[in-house]
């Protein structure tokens, strides 16, 4: 992996750890206590065993004292182990929650360009799966890393004190295992990355197909899906196997190096025993061997952690990439729009989604307060793009859009959007109660206001027929029909009464009888409000003050119904083709 990127990722991880410095210090302290006591217990047991010399030669009094001390050590160790686990949990889970929170915050401010160009499953997989794997790695790291390091340091000191030339042998060979671990780790990183990418691809596929399971079933496309799924699954299996296997060789390799250490200690130790003529006793040698073992064990664990950490870092880098993604330009210091009457001015607007395909060029339009603007044109001509620009979901590439004389880029998004009421053809409802969905735009509305809005949108009667009325939990999937959802979206707007309206085929799924009634309410709503209406239905279009006729991303005609008809251009052609009643 790119070393710089890796350093950046690690820095990012440390940034998340910083708030928990206190807990980190606690963990380190507790690890020290645990390790010291864990090392002391065998020593004490050794002393106890020394009290048992032979038949009739057992010092029971001293034995009892030692047992008390050992018991105390056990109690303290157990307590500090437990507290250490709690600290580690606290750090790992809080960091997880923090990082998820930040990732979600970022989602809320990401430019739509980013979200529109990716599948939901892919982004969600980062926030859910990657975050989880990251925290698992972190937890395991903390649990084993600190105790490991403390054990290494503790035994090293003891060995140096006991016999430093043998300690030197241990000291020199053991780091080889760290190199080995590092070598394997750096070579498996790309495998983990591939695994996490393939996993994201699979999640995206699952998200798409399981999310639209009903369509899949309608087309009996289950078998084909299974094939595609099997193909991705097979690839995932292959790269997972590689990542997991190669990374798991770390542990055996370091264990092998440890056995070399062990043999080295045995060799040098035995020679020392012979050389010193017994000054360095056999008993010392056996203690040494056991400490050498104690010393090398944590290396195994640490290398195992390194493996896990590889995966965690790969996941963290994806998470941090999401969090570090450039947000939409900040609103800070922008003007807060107040008292909007609805004067909108578009001058020389240029826009395109991709540089190769120019879409809107030099669009000029001036709308004074309370005017009704209808946007018509063949399907797919770019009507929705205008809405994207008005709402500032996308920023213009050239020219400007001004509301009440303020360029919308110099105004806070909230204050801009709060003055718009938007109903889209693609209805979207939150998984929440009807009430929560309706009051989205005006959370502090009264019960009466809400019911009045629902009645105006002719949604009240069917809401009352739902199992729990206004408290029924609804969602994007589920039993409501498309038309009913649209009525709810309309009621949502009726409740907040914004000065400007954007209606994109707002009534396309509502039956005409209901629509006629809703139209009355709409007409009342539009009175005195600047409205942009994308519609097919003639009645709406005809009564507009300005009709924008769009084709292939450009506004080709502009004017009132009569003017445009007289002009005999594209609009009149469209009008005769579209609205002539086929009898």
């Amino acid at each position: 992996m790119n070393a710089m990127k890796r350093t950046k990722t690690l820095k990012g991880i440390f940034r998340y750890l910083r708030p928990y410095t206190g807990y980190l210090l606690c963990t380190v302290f507790l690890a020290l206590v645990t390790v010291l006591l864990t090392l002391a217990v065998p020593f004490l047991v050794g002393l106890a065993i020394d009290c048992i010399l032979g038949a009739g030669e057992v010092d029971f009094a001293r034995l009892g004292d030692l047992f008390l001390v050992i018991g105390g050590c056990i109690a303290v160790t157990a307590l500090s182990q437990w507290l250490m686990s709690l600290c580690n949990n606290k750090i790992a889970y809080h960091v997880l929650a923090d990082i998820r929170r930040d990732a979600f915050r970022k989602i809320e401010v990401l430019p739509l360009r980013y979200i529109d160009s990716r599948s939901y499953g892919e982004i969600a997989s980062v926030v859910i799966t990657d975050a989880e794997q990251f925290s698992d790695g972190l937890l395991l790291g903390f649990t084993q890393l600190f105790t490991g390091i403390c054990t290494i340091l503790g035994t090293l000191v003891i060995m140096l004190v006991l016999r430093f030339e043998i300690a030197l042998v241990v000291f020199c060979i053991t780091p080889v295992s760290l190199f080995a671990a590092k070598f394997i780790a750096s070579h498996t990183y790309s495998m983990f990355k591939l695994q996490s990418e393939t996993r994201a691809e699979q999640t995206a596929f699952i998200d798409e197909m399981v999310g639209n399971l009903k369509i899949v079933k309608a087309y009996t496309h289950e078998d084909e899906n299974e094939e595609t799924f099997a193909e991705i699954n097979e690839r995932l299996k292959k790269c997972s196997l590689r990542a997991i296997f190669y990374s798991s060789t770390t542990n055996p390799v370091t264990r092998f190096i440890n056995s070399v250490v062990y043999a080295g200690v045995a060799l040098v130790g035995a020679f020392t025993v012979i050389g010193t003529g017994g000054a360095f006793s056999v008993g010392y040698l056996s203690t040494f061997l056991s400490y050498a073992n104690q010393y090398t064990k944590p290396f195994n664990e640490i290398t195992e952690v390194i493996t896990e950490f590889q995966n965690a870092v790969a996941c963290a880098s994806r998470l941090l990439a999401l969090i570090g993604e450039e947000a939409q330009p900040s609103d800070e210091g922008n003007y807060v729009l107040k008292q909007v009457d609805g004067n909108i001015e578009l001058s020389h607007v240029e826009f395109s989604y991709s540089p190769e395909r120019r879409l809107i060029e030099d669009l000029n339009l001036s709308v004074t307060a309370g005017k009704r603007v209808a946007i018509v044109g063949p399907t797919g001509c770019g009507k929705t793009t205008i809405i994207n620009l008005l709402m500032r979901f996308y920023d213009v590439l050239g020219g400007s859009i001004c509301v009440e004389g303020h360029d919308i880029r110099s105004v806070t998004r909230h204050s801009l959007r709060a003055h718009y009421g938007m109903v889209l053809q693609e209805t979207w409802l939150k998984r929440a109660t009807v009430r929560e969905n309706l009051c989205m735009g005006k959370p502090d509305c009264t019960e009466e206001e809400m019911i009045a809005a629902a009645k105006a949108a002719h949604a009240h009667s069917f809401i009352m027929r739902l199992p729990q009325g206004y408290d029924t939990v609804i969602g994007d999937e589920g039993a409501l029909s498309q038309g009913q959802k649209q009525l709810l979206c309309i009621a949502r707007i009726m409740l907040c009464l914004p000065p400007m309206l954007i209606l994109d085929e707002a009534t396309s799924s509502i039956d005409t009888r209901t629509e006629l009634r809703v139209q009355d309410a709409f007409a009342k709503l539009m009175l005195g409000r600047t409205s942009f209406i994308v519609a097919h239905r003639l009645s709406t279009v005809r009564s507009a003050d300005i009709i924008l006729v769009m084709n292939a991303g450009k506004i080709i005609e502009q004017g009132t119904h009569e003017e445009l008809l007289q002009k005999g251009g594209f609009y009149s052609e469209l009008y005769h083709a579209q609205f002539a009643v086929p009898e």
């Binding site: 529109d116 969600a124 999640t203 997991i244 009888r513 209901t514």
Partner: protein, 575 residues
């Protein structure tokens, strides 16, 4: 566990070899102390340096063999874990795909997705760890106990006492954690739902300036998840201290019993040291085990969630083999018949459709019209048996659809749903959903019939790219492509469930004219009278009941609801 086990079964060789090689490696570990003893007893005692070097080389040799064994074990464990979980995922995907519409409604998609992804990943890690350690640990524990018996029976009784206690402790912690972990995964579902919802509804959320409250809500759920994780973490954290305390108390007991035995002359000091050595080995193993217990417990609880899905009976291909009171085909050979059909959604209270009764002849065009929520979509969903009638029968050529295979039924009936969904890929790959082997001409002619030639032109032909959910197309473009997709299938019966709503009148009219030419039986669900005007049979639905049936002219005379609908639009069109 039965599904996981049966998945592992196909990797049984690997699943057996992995722990086996682990055990071989562990046995080597048990021999090492003997070699050291030999060095001390022979090498040092006799001052034989050559012997010492030889023995040390032997230790290195053990190291090499151990390396080979353990790498082999890791390989097989990884193979078994990855392979079995890939199979598990495939099974899960297949099972989810077999769910009926009702089951889909009940379960909700976000939990289905977390089960397929996050849960399976956890299981994979768990299986991998278990294969590597779960046999090794008991092996060492019981091996050490057996060795203790060789040394001294009385002292070994300490082992006999402590090992069950240890098992109880370990399993009690696991048992307490499993349901808590399941709760954690449940909370994770909610966090996932929030995330997904915010991506899908990004425009509406931003339009309503709801970013902050959405964030608050997410943080609330995130906090709940955190609390649940910490709760289970607190209990899981007990494993390590608990085992430590138990083993070290056993050490005290052992030394005490040892002291008594030595005092009585039944045992020697060296034996006590050996016994203590074995107990230490047990402790080391248990500490390893305790570190993994979180992983394994998580895996088990995730596995349970997966099992619950796999244990659910999917939708059978044929609902019931025979339907006893199926009368022979109705007189006049009705092609399609609804016979007193009543339908209620599961848990939905009042029936969505009541006593629907009508017949259709082959090649007829049937229009279904009615208000929002009057049951039009529900009615057509009964035809391909997405939902089965609660009462009465839906008959195709005299056969109850419940007795027909879902595959056959859905191949004969093409439905274009209200929600125009396209999938990531190209226009071609989407159209081929209709029929895998459809030739190029069939695709083009379907596109032409669906009035989508211009979409093709705009997107650069059949290979034009389509983003997930067809996000790069307008509503109308999507609708026409979904119609084309259904036409590629060349079904006997085509159902358009309000699928032309985003089309302008002219395109809609041309589409209907083109469809009429194909001569198949067509159901058109619409809110526009213009769309159903020329149908051979028009059903007028109101509140789940048929309030009018017949041709346009008949209905204008007899049906007040139809008249009202017609007037509401006629006025508009004429105005």
């Amino acid at each position: 566990m039965k599904h996981l086990l049966s998945c592992i079964k196909s990797y049984r060789v690997e699943a057996i070899l992995a722990p086996l090689f682990k055990l071989l490696e562990a046995s080597l570990e048990l021999i090492v102390p003997l070699v050291v003893a030999a060095i001390v007893d022979h090498g040092i005692a006799e001052g034989d340096k050559g012997y010492i070097v030889g023995m040390c080389l032997l230790l290195v040799g053990f190291g090499i063999v151990g390396l080979a064994f353990s790498i082999t074990a890791q390989y097989f464990a990884a193979r078994a874990a990855v392979g079995a979980c890939a199979d598990l995922r495939t099974r899960l995907f297949r099972k989810l795909q077999s769910f009926s519409y009702t089951q889909i409604d009940e379960m909700g998609t976000s939990t289905m997705i977390t089960r397929m992804t996050s849960d399976v990943n956890q299981v994979q890690t768990g299986v991998n760890m278990s294969l590597r350690l779960f046999l090794r640990s008991p092996f060492i524990v019981f091996g050490a106990m057996a060795m203790a018996f060789v040394v001294d029976v009385k002292a070994a009784l300490v082992f006999v006492a402590v090992i069950p206690l240890l098992s109880v402790a370990v399993f009690a912690v696991m048992a307490a954690c499993i349901p808590l972990y399941q709760k954690v995964q449940g909370k994770l579902d909610r966090v996932f739902l929030s995330t997904r919802e915010n991506l899908a509804g990004v425009r509406v959320i931003r339009a309503f300036c709801k970013e902050e409250s959405e964030q608050k809500e997410f943080e609330l759920r995130n906090g709940e998840l955190l609390a649940a994780q910490k709760r289970v973490g607190k209990i899981a954290a007990l494993t390590n201290p608990l085992t430590y305390v138990l083993v070290n108390l056993a050490v005290i007991a052992l030394v005490y019993v040892g002291a008594l035995q030595v005092n009585a002359g039944a045992l020697q000091q060296g034996d006590v040291i050996a016994l203590y050595g074995y107990l230490s080995q047990i402790l080391v193993e248990l500490i390893k085990l305790a570190n993994l217990i979180v992983t394994v417990t998580k895996a088990v609880s995730c596995e349970k969630r997966i099992e619950r899905v796999l244990d659910t009976e999917g939708e059978p291909d044929v609902l019931c083999a025979e339907y006893s009171d199926a009368a022979p085909a109705a007189e006049g050979g009705a092609y399609l018949e609804f016979r007193h059909v009543t339908f209620s959604y599961a848990g939905g209270g009042a029936p969505a459709l009541t006593d629907i009764h009508f017949q259709v002849r082959k090649g007829q065009t049937v229009g279904i019209i009615g208000g929002t929520g009057s049951g039009k979509t529900t009615l057509v969903n009964l035809l391909p048996r997405f939902y089965a009638a609660t009462e009465g029968q839906v008959l195709l050529e005299g056969r109850d659809v419940r007795t027909m295979s879902a595959t056959e039924l859905r191949e004969r009936i093409g439905i274009v749903p209200q929600k125009a969904v396209l999938f990531k890929g190209s226009i071609r790959s989407n159209l081929l959903w209709g029929r895998e082997d459809a030739p190029e001409e069939a695709l083009l002619s379907a596109v032409h019939t669906a009035q989508a030639d211009d979409v093709l032109a705009a997107k650069g032909g059949l290979d034009g790219e389509i983003a997930q959910e067809g996000k790069n197309l307008s509503g109308g473009q999507r609708q026409r492509l979904t119609i084309a997709r259904a036409l590629v299938r060349d079904p006997e019966i085509l159902i358009l469930d309000d699928s032309a709503s985003a089309l302008d009148y002219a395109t809609d009219a041309r589409l209907r004219a083109a469809l009429r030419e194909t001569g198949r039986t067509v159901f058109i669900v619409s809110q526009r009278t213009a769309s159903v005007l020329q149908a051979d049979l028009i059903l007028v639905l109101d509140d789940g009941k048929v309030v009018g049936m017949g041709s346009h002219e008949d209905l204008l005379r007899t049906c007040s609801v139809y008249r009202e609908i017609y007037r509401s639009q006629f006025k508009e069109e004429e105005a």
